[in-house]
Symmetry: C2
Subunit: 380 residues, 2 copies
Amino acid sequence: MVYFDNAATSYPKPKVVYDAIMDAMMEYGANPGRSGHKKALKASRGIFDTRVQIGKLLNIKDPMSIIFTFNCTESLNLGIKGYLKPGDHVITTSMEHNSALRPIVFLDKLGVKHTIVHGDSKGRINPKDIEDSITKETKMIVTTHISNLTGTIMDIESIGKIARKHGLVYLVDGAQSAGVYNIDVEKMNIDMLAFPGHKGLLGPQGTGGLYIRPGIELVETFQGGTGSISHSLEQPDIFPDKFESGTPNAPGIIGLGTGIKYIFEKGIDNIRKKEEDLTMHFIEEASKIDKIILYGTLEKNHHAPVVALNVGEADSSEISYILDEEYDIAVRPGLHCAPLAHKTIGTFEQGVVRFSFGYENTHEEIEFAIKALKEIAKEV
Amino acid sequence: MVYFDNAATSYPKPKVVYDAIMDAMMEYGANPGRSGHKKALKASRGIFDTRVQIGKLLNIKDPMSIIFTFNCTESLNLGIKGYLKPGDHVITTSMEHNSALRPIVFLDKLGVKHTIVHGDSKGRINPKDIEDSITKETKMIVTTHISNLTGTIMDIESIGKIARKHGLVYLVDGAQSAGVYNIDVEKMNIDMLAFPGHKGLLGPQGTGGLYIRPGIELVETFQGGTGSISHSLEQPDIFPDKFESGTPNAPGIIGLGTGIKYIFEKGIDNIRKKEEDLTMHFIEEASKIDKIILYGTLEKNHHAPVVALNVGEADSSEISYILDEEYDIAVRPGLHCAPLAHKTIGTFEQGVVRFSFGYENTHEEIEFAIKALKEIAKEV
């Protein structure tokens, strides 16, 4: 099987990640931060270590300003809905995933207005369009770092500068970038960074997080047991407890920390370079095939390892089905939970076939996929 | 090591659970319900199968009315905050965990009033006290099935009848009961049942769920990608998608399903009987020890495998520390995130040492703990 669906979830994970999860479950599968016995403390320390690893990766000074969530969707919901109040205005882009768009649209009915800045036909967002959309009521800018549809890399550093200049909170969706692209929350003026654990960071499903710049006031999504200030019926106002109610996914978070250590070991620049090479190889060969339409910038340093294409006017689901059934190649068709991004690049009706590459993929697999696409393009 | 902290999380899980999680991660670790390729479909079917197992266990007719969450705290927050509106009134009890009390208290500031019905010194709730608290504005009753502090089993069937008679929604916190005690949402008139995956149901951390009786209108906590109706910026109004945004914990949920199958294989009545036998053995022997104060009903069929105790006036953390350090026995001291329950039984200052037993525990371990308690009681 050839797995080209890494934008949905990275697979396989490094063996050390599976081993760490199993070890955490079997050897010290207690409830961290609840009891004080040895296994509970060991799990608790494992979780803290993951905070430290994430902090190191993203240049976050205080590990306690990183909170763990269930997935990147929860992180985005918390960042958006925990911060904005009736009367506020938020700016986002047409290249966002529904995990950002749907919470923002939901806030409409609570009196939070929004502006959606549109990308160009290659999925690029012009930071100036964002700046031009700022009103007196604007409190926040929400953009993705990398489009999950076209792989277009956004100029988040410029957007961060605009946010800082106008005193706005900048929330970045790192779903497709964390663990592969360099993110420095200080240098990039990122106030909140939402990330999944199970994509580029190489952790398991059921993990995600949100960095919250100290000083930003957020209303928590849940109240509950935090193992702290237990005598009070009010949610504790301390980080990270305020945002982490109930039993966490300790083995998952420990696996995530192991994934990040693996990234340090291999070198994030090496990982990215390999994924970029695979991507450029694929783009170069695919663009030679008659009938294949490629989307995005297709340019090195502007195009992440996510490639959207169509074969003439063929339905994207049909092409994906053939790839899966006849070639055992796993890709993702359809709308990718990013309807406005599809409208932006003109594929709202047809959808696209999305190839997304990971560190475990090889150039041989790319060649095999190209061969498959050539055969399919002849047939349809 | 003797693990008596099963009320925090069950440990160890059956080997088949670890194996199922590993298999799901290593053999088909794709994103379920997102793509249409074989590994994604296999993960998706695994999740559906877990819904079916839970339905079978709890007599839930439509598996799609069971939604998966991160933990029981999220489930309770969703049930409580997704249902109640300004002007409504909710009744709960002093025996609840902070996972129910804190969301209810949080709603105060949004104009949702509450009444807390108090338990007696053994942690028992009189259903009549709940009925007497009903006002014209009452919309919901929230109670735990079993106290996480005293192990007291609540008469949820009688409370369910009261809820039904008065047309109120009844939300039950099954944190300490699901998987060990028989729950029949039809017979017991349970409208919503919150449960963790990682306690009696023997699944991993990072899993939980909420049963929502069809017809109950709940506002979802998160909006985001659901892999369905992706062209729309509005959250889909279909079950379970409405409540399951973003990537689920597929290996975790598949492990949870395996845990439930293990329960069916062993027989829930056999599991409960074994845990009751251990509990009664422990209570009988502990009650003979000078200085040991036991809390709760201590009566068979009224007392679940959770035993709170103190050794004279000694600090509960100190006793737990000695048990851990000198005997390698894992228990949980303190307030157990249930401050009002401690006030109810009079241990708010001292806390208690909580022993909680699981199916993997043995009578030899009980004897060993009793020996340890005897020695400690002599020393302090």
